[in-house]
C-alpha cells in the first residue's frame, strides 16, 4: 500500500511534483556550481602559477653577445653562492614592426620546457609544427587575432608566413600589465629564422631563474647594475594579474549569492509542498493510518524526488560552472569543472540531506495535527490571521488588478520571502560588480599602473638612453628641451617623469630583507598625489609609503626607514602614507629632491605632462603630435587602452555576463515560483474566471504581483548596495592592494538601466509562467479550501 500511495501521488500531482523536482535541480545546480566556482576562483592565480611553474625571477637582456656573457657570469657566481638554483635560457628573435604584419615588433621564441609553461585554450601543453605560430591571449585580444590567421614577416632576405595555431595562456606574457610580448614558433622555424637574420644583435635573451632567497638575489642584482632590459619577480608578476583576480572575486561573490538563493528556494519548496499535503494527511489520519507511516510515506517521496533532482542538478552544474568560469579561464589556466565530479556529487548529497532534514522537521507536525483541523481548514491547520491589511473599498481610484496584486503580497508576505531574497541578491549582484567594473573603466584606473593621472603621456625613445647614461641631469635637460619645443608652438606643458627603483628597505623593528618598489617623480611636486595621512615628502630625506608597507615595516609617521640602493644604507623619515594598486599595494614615494642615481633605476613610466590651466587638452595633444611626429603621444583613455587593450572588452564581457546570469537566475526562480503560486491559487483563479474575469486579467494579476516584488526588491537592493558599495568594492580592490579607490558610479546605468532590464526580464518570465491560467477551468475550483 505504501508504494501504491507513493506511485499515485507522483502521478496525480504531476504538476507540483515536477515543479518541486525542477526547484531541486536548480538549487543543486546553484549549490554545486557555486561551491565549485568558489573553490576554483579562490586559488585560481595560485593554481595557474603553480601549474605553469613560474620562475622566481625573470631577466631580459639588452641584446646578445657581450651583455649575455656578463649576465651569465653573474648568474654562475650566484649559483655558486647558492642563491640561484636553476636557470632556463630563452633566446628571442626580434622582427621590427616595419618588417611584419603584426603591427608591433615580434619577439619570436621557442616553447619553454621547464619554467613559465604555456597552455592552449584546453589547458594542454602546446606543440608547434613548422609553419605554425602561437600567440598569448592578451596580444590576440588586443590585435583581434584568431587561430587560422596568418602572420607574415621578413627575416633578412626571407619572406616568411606562419599560421596562428593556437592562442595560449602564457603566465609570463599573458597579462598586458607585464608590458612585453612573445610569440612562439617551432624549433625548426626558430633555427631557420635565426639563420636568416643577418644582424645577430637583433636578438634578446630571457632567463627564468629559480632562487632560494629571492629578495637577496634581487638586491644583489640591482647592485650589480647589469645591462638588462627588464626584470620581473614572481611577486611582481602576480600583481600583473589584478584583473584576473578581480574577475575571480566577482565570480566568488556571484557564487556566494547562488548558494544563498539555492538554500532559500530549497526551504521554500519543501515547506510549500508539504503544506499543500496537509489536507491529505488529515484524510489519511482520519481513515486510520498512523502518523509514523504517513511520515514515512512523505519522507520516502521526498527522498526519491531529491535524489533524482540532486543528481540531475549535479550533472548540469558542470556546464553551468564551465560557462561561468569561461571569462576568467581565458587567460588563466584553471582545472576544468569536470575534474570535480565528486564535488558535484557531494553537493548533490548535501541537497538530499537538507531536503530530508527540512522534510523531517516539517512532517514532525503530522503527529500533532488534529484530523478535524486538517480536513476542515485545509492547508496547514492554522487559522488565517487578519489577512487584509488594506481594503479595496478604501483603495481610491486604484485599479482592481493592482489592488489584488498588492493585497496578495501584503497579506502573505512570508510566502514571497524567497522571491524577495533572490531578487534583492540579484540586484546587489549587479550593482556592486558593475560599480567596480565602471570604476576600472574610468580614467582614474590609470593609477592601477602606479601612474599619476595626467593630461598627456609621451614615449620619446629617449628613456633607454637615460638609463644607460645614468645621468639624471641629462634627463632633466631633455625634458626641458622638449617643453621648449612645444612652448615655441604655443603649448605650455609641464613634463615630468617617474623613475622606478627597487631598493632594499628596512626599519628599526623590521630588519628582514625585502625590496620594495620606490618611485621618484622628477619635475613633479609630490603634493600632486593623494595621501591618506601626513605631509607630502619635501626634503631629500623624506619619503611616503603605502599604509600596507608601513604596516609591514612596523613604522609610524616620523620613524626612520633605511633604503639601500647600492652598498650604502640611507636613512629616510616617513612623513606620509598613501594607497596604490601598484605592486600589490607595496610601494614607496621619494621626494623630488631625494638623491638618487639613475644607474640603479629599474625603469621609467612614460613621460607625463600637464597643460597650463584652461588648455583644450585634445586640441593641444593633436598639435603636439604634429610638432613631434616620432613621439607616441596619448591622452589618458588611449594610455589606458594600451595597457588594458582587450581587458576593456573583457570588462564589458564580464558586465554582460553578470547581467545575463542575474536575469537568467531571476527568471528561472520567477518561473518556478510563479508556477508554484499558480498551483496554490488555482482555486481562486478558477473562481475569478468563472465569475467573468478574463484570462488577460488573471495572467496580469499573477505576473504584476511578481513585478511588484521585483520593484520593491530593486529599491531594497539599491539601498543595500549603497550601504555595501564602499565596504565590498573597497574590499575587492583591497585584494589588489588599495582600499581608497574613487568609485566611478554611473547612476543611470547601474541604478536605473540594468534594474529596469532585470525587471523587464522577470516580468516577461512571470507573464509567460502565468499563461498557465488559461488551462484552469471551473473544475479546479474544487481544489480551493
Amino acid at each position: 500500500m505504501f508504494i501504491q500511495i507513493l506511485k499515485k501521488d507522483l502521478k496525480r500531482k504531476k504538476g507540483m511534483n515536477l515543479i518541486l523536482f525542477l526547484l531541486l535541480i536548480i538549487s543543486s545546480i546553484f549549490l554545486a556550481g557555486g561551491v565549485n566556482n568558489l573553490l576554483l576562483t579562490m586559488n585560481a592565480i595560485d593554481y595557474f602559477f603553480k601549474e605553469a611553474n613560474v620562475s622566481d625571477f625573470y631577466i631580459k637582456t639588452k641584446g646578445q653577445g657581450e651583455n649575455e656573457i656578463r649576465i651569465e657570469k653573474w648568474m654562475e657566481e650566484m649559483e655558486a653562492e647558492g642563491l640561484i638554483e636553476n636557470v632556463e635560457k630563452y633566446p628571442y628573435l626580434m622582427i621590427e614592426k616595419e618588417d611584419n604584419s603584426f603591427d608591433s615588433p615580434l619577439y619570436l621564441c621557442k616553447i619553454r620546457k621547464e619554467q613559465n609553461l604555456i597552455f592552449d585554450t584546453d589547458n594542454q601543453p602546446v606543440d608547434l609544427k613548422p609553419g605554425e605560430i602561437a600567440i598569448p591571449v592578451s596580444q590576440a585580444e588586443q590585435k583581434g587575432i584568431e587561430p587560422g590567421d596568418e602572420i607574415r614577416f621578413r627575416a633578412g632576405e626571407k619572406e616568411i608566413s606562419l599560421q596562428v595555431k593556437s592562442i595560449v595562456k602564457d603566465v609570463l606574457f599573458g597579462s598586458p600589465f607585464v608590458g612585453f610580448d612573445a610569440q612562439y614558433i617551432s624549433e625548426a622555424d626558430f633555427a631557420m629564422v635565426e639563420n636568416a637574420l643577418s644582424r645577430k644583435d637583433g636578438g634578446i635573451t630571457g632567463y627564468g631563474i629559480s632562487s632560494s632567497d629571492i629578495s637577496e638575489l634581487e638586491r644583489r642584482f640591482y647592485n650589480e647594475g647589469l645591462p638588462v632590459f627588464t626584470t620581473i619577480s614572481q611577486k611582481e608578476l602576480r600583481t600583473c594579474y589584478v584583473m584576473d583576480m578581480l574577475f575571480a572575486v566577482f565570480l566568488m561573490i556571484i557564487s556566494i549569492c547562488l548558494l544563498v538563493i539555492s538554500f532559500v528556494i530549497l526551504r521554500f519548496s519543501i515547506t510549500f509542498t508539504l503544506h499543500e499535503e496537509f489536507k491529505e494527511i488529515g484524510v489519511m489520519k482520519a481513515i486510520g493510518i498512523n502518523s509514523l507511516a504517513i511520515r514515512g510515506i512523505y519522507l520516502c517521496k521526498y527522498f526519491v524526488l531529491s535524489v533524482a533532482g540532486a543528481l540531475s542538478g549535479a550533472f548540469f552544474s558542470i556546464p553551468f560552472s564551465d560557462f561561468m568560469m569561461g571569462s576568467i579561464e581565458k587567460n588563466v589556466y584553471m582545472p576544468k569543472a569536470q575534474g570535480n565530479l565528486w564535488l558535484c556529487l557531494a553537493c548533490g548529497g548535501i541537497i538530499v540531506l537538507l531536503v530530508m532534514l527540512f522534510c523531517y522537521i516539517c512532517t514532525g507536525k503530522i503527529k500533532r495535527l488534529m484530523v478535524i483541523e486538517a480536513i476542515k481548514s485545509g492547508s496547514n491547520g492554522e487559522r488565517y490571521g487578519k489577512s487584509s491589511p488594506i481594503s479595496l473599498y478604501k483603495s481610491g481610484k486604484l485599479p482592481a488588478l493592482l489592488f489584488l496584486a498588492a493585497n496578495d503580497i501584503l497579506s502573505s508576505k512570508k510566502k514571497y520571502i524567497p522571491l524577495f531574497i533572490s531578487f534583492i541578491i540579484g540586484i546587489i549582484m549587479i550593482i556592486l560588480p558593475l560599480n567596480a567594473v565602471n570604476t576600472l573603466k574610468s580614467d582614474s584606473v590609470i593609477t592601477l599602473f602606479g601612474i599619476a593621472k595626467s593630461d598627456v603621456y609621451i614615449t620619446s625613445h629617449k628613456e633607454e638612453a637615460w638609463i644607460e647614461d645614468g645621468d639624471m641631469n641629462k634627463m632633466l635637460a631633455d625634458l626641458e628641451h622638449m617643453e621648449e619645443i612645444y612652448a615655441r608652438e604655443g603649448i605650455r606643458v609641464k613634463l615630468y617623469s617617474e623613475v622606478l627603483y627597487f631598493p632594499y628597505v628596512s626599519s628599526e623593528t623590521n630588519k628582514d630583507k625585502s625590496s620594495i618598489m620606490a618611485t621618484q617623480a622628477k619635475n613633479f611636486d609630490t603634493e600632486n598625489y593623494r595621501y591618506l595621512d601626513g605631509e607630502p615628502p619635501k626634503l631629500s630625506n623624506e619619503l611616503a609609503m603605502t599604509a600596507l608597507s608601513a604596516e609591514e615595516l612596523n613604522v609610524k609617521m616620523g620613524d626612520t626607514v633605511w633604503l639601500q640602493f647600492a652598498e650604502e644604507k640611507i636613512p629616510y623619515i616617513l612623513t606620509a602614507t598613501f594607497e596604490s594598486f601598484n605592486n600589490l599595494g607595496y610601494s614607496i614615494r621619494l621626494s623630488e629632491t631625494a638623491e638618487t642615481d639613475l644607474k640603479y633605476s629599474a625603469g621609467f613610466y612614460d613621460i607625463q605632462g600637464n597643460f597650463q590651466e584652461g588648455t583644450d587638452v585634445e586640441a593641444a595633444i593633436s598639435k603636439m603630435r604634429e610638432i613631434t611626429p616620432d613621439y607616441e603621444i596619448k591622452n589618458t583613455r588611449e594610455r589606458i587602452a594600451v595597457s588594458l587593450g582587450g581587458i576593456i572588452e573583457r570588462l564589458d564581457e564580464i558586465k554582460a555576463l553578470i547581467v545575463f546570469v542575474v536575469i537568467v537566475i531571476n527568471s528561472l526562480v520567477t518561473i518556478l515560483l510563479c508556477r508554484t503560486f499558480l498551483e496554490r491559487d488555482k482555486g481562486e483563479i478558477a473562481l475569478l474566471k468563472s465569475i467573468g474575469f478574463s484570462n488577460g486579467f488573471l495572467q496580469a494579476w499573477q505576473s504584476i504581483r511578481i513585478g511588484m516584488i521585483q520593484l520593491i526588491s530593486v529599491f531594497i537592493g539599491i539601498l543595500f548596495s549603497y550601504l555595501l558599495n564602499d565596504g565590498m568594492i573597497q574590499y575587492t580592490f583591497g585584494i589588489m592592494g588599495t582600499s581608497q579607490v574613487e568609485l566611478n558610479i554611473v547612476p543611470m546605468e547601474v541604478y536605473v538601466g540594468y534594474p529596469l532590464l532585470v525587471l523587464a526580464g522577470v516580468l516577461a518570465a512571470a507573464y509567460i509562467a502565468a499563461s498557465g491560467v488559461k488551462r484552469f477551468s471551473v473544475q479546479k475550483m474544487n481544489d480551493m479550501e
Binding site: 479595496l392 482592481a400 493585497n407 481562486e684 474566471k689 468563472s690
Partner: protein
C-alpha cells in the same frame, strides 16, 4: 414572454484517456425572462456540467446557446468573460471567495473590475449598492470580516450579494443550499425568490424538493438528457408551498427519483 436563455441541441463530451464521455446529449430548453427554473436529476446526470456549459464557463461540444440574442459559442473568450462578469451572476455550492479579501471587498471586486466597461457607474455608486444589498441580506455586520470569520449561511448570502452586484440578467446557482442547514437554506431561497420577483432570471441546480418547489418550472435530467419537465407556475405565497412540494414529490417519484 421573451426568453433570456435558449439552449438548442447542446452536447458536451469529455475526452479522458481517449475514452469519450458524452455527458450532455442534445439538450434543448429555454429560460424565459424573469423565470426561475430548477434542474434536478440523479447524481452524475450532468446538471453541473449543463450549468457550466450554458454559462460559457466550459466549452460546448455542439449545439448553441442564445443569451439575450447573443450566440455564446461565437463569442471570443474575452467577450465571454465580459458577458459573465456583467450580465450573469454565479452562486456555487461551496462558498467560494478570495481568502485574502474581506467579505465586503469580495463583493465589490467584480463591480470594480466591470466599472470601466460599463460606462458611468462610479465607485461611490457601487459602494452604495453593495451596502444596500448587504443590508437586505442582513450581512452588513460582517462586512469587514475575513471569510473564515462568518457562518456558512452568511457566507452564501455574501456570495449572492457578489452575484448581484453587477445587476445581472440571469443568475446561475449550483446547489446554492447544498451545504447549508435548514434555516440558512430557507433564508437563501427567500433571497433568490425575491431577486427573481424583481426580474432576474434564475437557473438553479438542486437536490432539495423544498428548494425546487419554489421555482416556476422543474427540468429533470437523466444521463445527459432532459427526461421531462414540470411546470409548477409562479410561486406566490407560503401557503402554497406544502401543496407544491407534494405535487413535485409525486412527479419526481414517477421520474424514478
Amino acid at each position: 414572454m421573451s426568453s433570456s436563455l435558449k439552449v438548442k441541441d447542446l452536447c458536451k463530451t469529455y475526452v479522458m484517456d481517449k475514452r469519450q464521455n458524452n455527458v450532455l446529449k442534445n439538450v434543448s430548453f429555454s429560460v424565459s425572462e424573469g423565470e426561475m427554473v430548477a434542474i434536478m436529476g440523479p447524481s452524475g446526470s450532468g446538471k453541473s456540467t449543463l450549468l457550466y456549459t450554458v454559462s460559457g464557463m466550459d466549452k460546448m461540444t455542439a449545439g448553441s446557446v442564445d443569451f439575450f440574442g447573443k450566440d455564446l459559442s461565437s463569442l471570443k473568450p474575452d467577450e465571454l468573460s465580459k458577458v459573465r462578469l456583467v450580465e450573469m451572476g454565479f452562486i456555487f455550492q461551496q462558498m467560494y471567495m478570495l481568502k485574502n479579501l474581506s467579505i465586503y471587498d469580495n463583493i465589490i471586486l467584480p463591480a470594480y473590475q466591470a466599472e470601466k466597461g460599463k460606462g458611468g457607474r462610479s465607485r461611490k455608486e457601487i459602494n452604495e449598492q453593495a451596502q444596500e444589498l448587504m443590508r437586505k441580506l442582513d450581512i452588513m455586520q460582517v462586512a469587514d470580516n475575513d471569510i473564515n470569520e462568518v457562518s456558512g449561511g452568511q457566507l452564501q448570502r455574501a456570495c449572492i450579494c457578489r452575484s448581484l452586484i453587477n445587476h445581472p440578467k440571469i443568475i446561475f446557482a449550483d446547489e446554492p443550499t447544498g451545504s447549508l442547514n435548514k434555516q440558512a437554506s430557507y433564508e437563501v431561497m427567500e433571497e433568490l425568490n425575491r431577486i427573481n420577483r424583481e426580474g432576474t432570471s434564475v437557473l438553479l441546480v438542486t437536490h432539495d424538493v423544498r428548494v425546487a418547489a419554489k421555482s416556476d418550472r422543474v427540468v429533470y435530467l437523466v444521463d445527459g438528457k432532459i427526461e421531462d419537465e414540470y411546470k409548477l407556475g409562479r410561486f406566490q405565497t407560503e401557503q402554497d408551498i406544502r401543496e407544491r412540494e407534494r405535487i413535485l414529490s409525486s412527479w419526481l417519484m414517477e421520474m424514478g427519483w
